[in-house]
């Protein structure tokens, strides 16, 4: 008889081979004390955080802290109920109204996390006769969401509007609705969707809807932070926007907004909305206040992009291969997982925290040191980060430019 966890043995073997049984690893690292949006104590060291997705640095916004404290005192630590049962307070409806106002949309639904928003919407929206045509590099929550539903799932090549066109053309004569699923900014490499081209393809066909996950672009792109559709100027062509409060909004929770006239139906059929506890009032208060700061956060967005440019330029200058330009995600490509692990360890031991991302969680089988910027990073902090990257790069033998490497035939 096979043991309960036997099928994970190869994975655990890989982990042990990569990380050994000594030294810090990403599965055990913990922040003992968070000092600010950009610093924490890790293993007794004051560490600069360059991997938090806290793009605008709103986790300590005084206005949100006060609103959260007030809500905590007034309404308690939790709702102890789902949105459909006893878990809808006026603040939840208020947050949905704030989202409608923020995006200029008719309808908004708040979920307990961004992951759940994707699970809920993508498993429910399309039925057995419908088709989901998704970008191959979409997030795990999108994959799990579409797999939880009944539609046929087809992938198109990452950021390839021509490939999307080809796949929609094959479906043109089939009855049923089609839903294109993309992300505004892809989380691992920080690259943007070619939204104008995707919208042009969408318009060639009938019964095609477009959903964009703006998890990493909300607050980051667009004059008012409404993400890639605002930046590109095609907000009316994106039928559903999914997003999270856990990145630029600085707390936790997820949402979907839309102008579809029947959108409210989802409240009765979306299981990830109906059967999970609603957000605590203090979190709802944080999100509501911070959405206002996001909207008026033009100065923060400028600082974020300036910081991103500084880190990108600094890391490129020392000969590292960096995936995307002009993105708040700065992902350094390492030649293999072993070098990536040594690099990550060197950084954390020198007081710099980034995300270690390894295949299969990464596109093209890349091994990545993924940094994400914060508007609150100072020029001095980033200079220090770049200097430490240079030292560690030399130590792990990565002073010269790294060639792209794929895990299989590409």
């Amino acid at each position: 008889m096979a043991g309960l966890f036997d099928r994970f043995a190869p994975l655990m073997g890989q982990r042990d081979a990569l990380f050994g049984d000594s030294g810090v690893n990403p599965f055990s690292v913990k922040m003992d004390r968070v000092l600010s949006q950009t610093e924490a104590m890790i293993e007794g060291r004051r560490t600069i955080l360059v991997g938090t997705n806290n793009y605008l640095g709103l986790t300590f916004a005084p206005e949100a802290l006060k609103a959260a404290h007030d809500a905590l005192e007034a309404s308690g630590t939790g709702t102890t109920g789902s949105r459909m049962a006893n878990g809808t307070y006026s603040c939840h409806k208020g947050l949905e109204d704030t989202l409608c106002d923020f995006f200029g949309k008719e309808h908004a639904m708040v979920f307990s996390t961004g992951f759940l928003a994707n699970i809920g919407i993508l498993s429910t929206l399309m039925g057995p006769d419908d088709y989901i045509v998704m970008d191959a590099d979409c997030h795990a929550s999108i994959y799990d969401g579409v797999r939880g539903g009944s539609a046929q799932i087809i992938r198109f090549k990452h950021n390839d509007a021509a490939d999307l066109d080809k796949r929609l053309a094959r479906l043109a004569d089939k009855p049923g609705n089609k839903l294109i699923v993309i992300e505004g900014i892809y989380s691992m490499l920080g690259d943007k969707a070619p939204l104008a081209e995707i919208v042009a393809v969408k318009k060639k066909y009938e019964n095609v809807y477009l959903l964009s996950d703006e998890a990493h672009s909300l607050g980051v792109l667009g004059k008012y932070g409404r993400g890639l559709p605002e930046e590109v100027g095609c907000e009316d062509d994106v039928d559903f926007i999914v997003g999270t409060f856990s990145k630029s909004v600085g707390t936790v929770g997820g949402f979907c907004v839309s102008n579809h006239p029947d959108f409210e139906t989802l409240r009765l059929v979306c299981r990830a909305y109906i059967f999970t506890a609603s957000l605590p009032p203090s979190v709802v208060a944080s999100a509501t206040v911070n959405l206002g700061l996001v909207k008026n956060g033009g100065a923060l967005r400028k600082r974020l992009m300036r910081n991103a440019q500084q880190l990108h330029a600094g890391l490129t200058a020392i000969g590292l291969k960096v995936a995307s330009e002009n993105s708040p995600v700065v992902a350094v490509v390492a030649p293999d997982p072993q070098v990536a692990v040594a690099f990550w360890r060197g950084l954390i031991e020198a007081g710099v925290y980034v995300n270690l991302a390894l295949p299969p969680a990464t596109p093209y089988g890349y091994s990545l040191l993924r940094a994400s910027l914060c508007a609150a990073h100072t020029e001095e902090q980033l200079n220090k980060v770049i200097a430490i990257f240079a030292q560690v790069a030399a130590k792990v033998g990565l002073a010269a430019p790294v060639e792209h490497k794929r895990s299989a035939v590409g």
Partner: protein, 88 residues
């Protein structure tokens, strides 16, 4: 599901064998009964890259929904032929 039912054409199998050459890291002998996970050691990432090449080669879209039922090269050949026929 490879024990009964329709037989794929030799052409379809040959085309899949040809694509699989560059994905065959274990050096396993390729036959209709070769299994992707057990014999070829395909993980989820390789499966996705391999399917993308199959889609290009046959000019089809392979829904992810069918993958749990595809264990062998023969299973995939039958599935590909079904999709090609449905697209006509």
């Amino acid at each position: 599901m490879n024990d009964s039912g329709p037989e794929p054409s030799a052409d379809t199998l040959a085309a899949l064998f040809e694509i699989l050459k560059s994905f065959n890291k274990t050096g396993a002998e390729l036959s209709p009964g070769t299994r992707f996970t057990e014999d070829l050691n395909f993980d989820s990432l390789v499966v996705m890259e391999f399917i993308a090449v199959v889609e290009d080669s046959f000019d089809i879209s392979v829904p992810l929904n069918i993958l749990p039922d595809v264990a062998t090269i023969k299973d995939l050949a039958i599935a590909v032929e079904k999709i090609v026929a449905a697209d006509k």
